[in-house]
Point group: C2
Chain length 234, copies 2
DNA sequence: ACAAAAGTGTTGGCCTTACACCCATGC
DNA sequence: GCATGGGTGTAAGGCCAACACTTTTGT
């Protein structure tokens, strides 16, 4: 039996250096109590009018993670935001131009900080729950990344990345309810977060609300980094 | 500002079809109460004598998942076993032959069913906890896949894939203790698994043990598939 | 009879859930 | 003063962790 292994035999490999690697970024934001994702209109004739994720080919001298950060930076102006690889998508005919294997990342951004780098208004935030059709296999990619996010926020306090620096507990709860698509009990939610001790009371209040203003908090990243990272368990 | 997007602009792509895609399989087995992984000796001069994962280039007409299954089949003779993609590894100089982005998979196999397809005895099962050095970035890949496995067995009953069809509760506990690297309470462990109702009592006993023989069970996959897949929570 | 591992229940503490009233502010 | 959402505590039940003795088999 003849078996090959790229890790032991090199001679036949040269013929195979013909694929392209891309990254696709699922950029999540939170606005108007909805989870949003940043999409771009596709110009490709095959997908005319459909929305697609932000992505690009990985350059020859570029790490895949760097490529993902580059895409993010070029489109949103943001750096140093939360980003995580999800997985590769490598179906045979997923891209009309040829064999393109894409690596999917998702990132969590404060939607207020984003300055869209747009040419003809072709970039838009879409409510995740309203998205029906997308170009390529991007609906799959989005769904997989969204699932990953849902698991992640249960496990670790990453949701803060989607909020402004100062936020109320109501904001935080709205965020979790939007991501997980559940209703949560207000008192128990507060208890849980105060018990975790990651919130810093800023002794400030909301402005311009026409009811009793809520206290504002910020997230204490350092405290979280120190402690054993235990599950939030919703 | 000029930004590119593979999902909207195609003209410049051709130049980039020069990378290679590979898959690397972390094939886990369980034997002598230890978690093992199947490795092959590297022939590459750069990694002479080091052990590496089983991997291969993804063929042009081949899905990445199919490629992973092919590697598994060619080396172990197995098909239809548990396998899951973990993530891509795309560091710049991870392969001496050029730009090779690899997609890592792990699979769980019954080590008794494996017939190693070996040419010069270059394939071996290694205890995961004893592995020190590996070729390429394979130690990273293994570590990432092992972590994923640890989370997975807590979440879903996939451990059965590593055991023979018939097993005792002691076998099952040994497996979980090996994977999670913890000691578990025997009574609570039994309670938990009986409560989940995934085990079928075969009304058989161990043979050839020099103490009281344990009852044998099998896993009821169908029952699991039907129920809501709830966490095992160790 | 002895060695070795299998098998079996109960209790206490903790964590989770469910639930209702008063408070501060803007209009 | 009224409408709106903010803020707070407690009790009951379920879940998990800790723990020791008896049973079965081989030698």
């Amino acid at each position: 039996m003849h078996t090959k292994n790229i890790n032991t035999h090199l001679t036949e490999i040269k013929d195979y250096f013909k694929a392209a690697i891309s990254v696709d970024c699922v950029i999540f934001g939170f606005d108007e109590n909805e989870l949003k994702v940043l999409l771009i209109e596709s110009d490709l004739k095959e997908y005319k009018g459909k929305w697609s994720l932000l992505g690009d080919i990985v350059h020859p001298d570029e790490d895949i993670e760097s490529a993902a950060y580059r895409v993010l930076r070029e489109r949103t102006g943001l750096e140093d935001v939360f980003m995580e690889q999800v997985q590769a998508f490598g179906g045979l005919n997923r891209h009309p131009a040829g064999r393109v294997v894409t690596i999917a990342y998702y990132s969590l951004v404060n939607i207020q900080h984003v300055e869209l780098k747009t040419l003809q208004n072709e970039l838009h935030w879409h409510a995740v729950k309203d998205i029906r059709q997308m170009a390529f296999d991007h609906k799959d990619i989005l769904a997989t990344c969204y699932q990953r996010l849902q698991h992640k926020v249960i496990d670790q306090p990453v949701g803060f990345n989607l909020l402004p620096k100062k936020f109320s507990l109501r904001d935080l709860q709205n965020l979790y309810e939007a991501i997980l698509d559940v209703k949560l009990d207000r008192r128990n939610f507060r208890k849980k977060f105060f018990a975790m001790d990651y919130l810093v009371d800023l002794n400030e209040e909301e402005q311009d609300v026409r009811h009793r203003p809520a206290r504002l908090y910020k997230f204490n990243q350092d405290k979280y980094d120190l402690q054993h990272k235990k599950s939030l368990g919703f």
